[in-house]
Symmetry: C2
Subunit: 145 residues, 2 copies
Amino acid sequence: MLKDIGKMKSLTRDGVAELLRANGISLTLQRLAIAQILLVRPVHLTAEQVLKKAQKIMPEISRATGYNTLNLLKEKGLIRELVIEPGRIVYDSNTTHHYHIYDADTGKMTDVPAGDIKVTGTTELPAGVVLEEVDIIIRVNSRSG
Amino acid sequence: MLKDIGKMKSLTRDGVAELLRANGISLTLQRLAIAQILLVRPVHLTAEQVLKKAQKIMPEISRATGYNTLNLLKEKGLIRELVIEPGRIVYDSNTTHHYHIYDADTGKMTDVPAGDIKVTGTTELPAGVVLEEVDIIIRVNSRSG
DNA sequence: TTCCATGCAAAGGGTTTGCACTCTC
DNA sequence: GAGAGTGCAAACCCTTTGCATGGAA
């Protein structure tokens, strides 16, 4: 499921193009702009944020293309969709195994490498099911009051 | 934050009425119908499911009232809002500390008591933030193929 | 009478879809 | 000239809001 981008720390713009090709995505300027926003370094952004940033590079990107491309990148496993709270979907371009710290006051997300947290327990999965993944969201707040 | 319902296993219809009163919610037939669906036993239901079930008891419940009541129960801490995957918000009437197993194929949610899972790690929270809660979703699938 | 709760319908936000145009091969 | 990708606008789903009605204290 994870691609070779999995271990990346950062990527050049050319690297982004190659990565798209390697995943069978034919290149367009719109797709490159969007992919650059997401894949040059690990980020957590909403669809709206991605679209706005991409439009700074390339103004003629429509909303439809923005969403199409996000879904395409998601299907190819290059980004992951996270639901943090109702109505707030963020796209995560860190596809290594990791968890999240979410500050509800600032909206800031911080990655926690999977190795930093251990989950142990006596829980057995229901019969006949296969474990896919474990999501952990550590919710914090930074309110003074 | 958790109310006395926290430890409940099940509740009578009368118990639901008392619980609402105890939380300063004035009673109406609509609210009682909705609260019964959710609070008689722990369930995981979407807003739509709650509304439909409540309307079987009491047909004259409008969509607006359904959502108003869900939000009211949520504010009072009698139910919790969970976001499992994009566009799928479920209301959870088990307010004890617990985690979830989610089967993406069947949509079925299973509770895991907090005591059954241990989370340990070396991760430090960012400076100045306060831990609120830890959400764990164990994603499984039951596809044969 | 003064609220509060309700119902209806309309509005709202975020995402998807339909369709015609453009580009590429 | 067939297929893919795009832009625009409309449609869509889910939730919230505005407003007038109706009931409770």
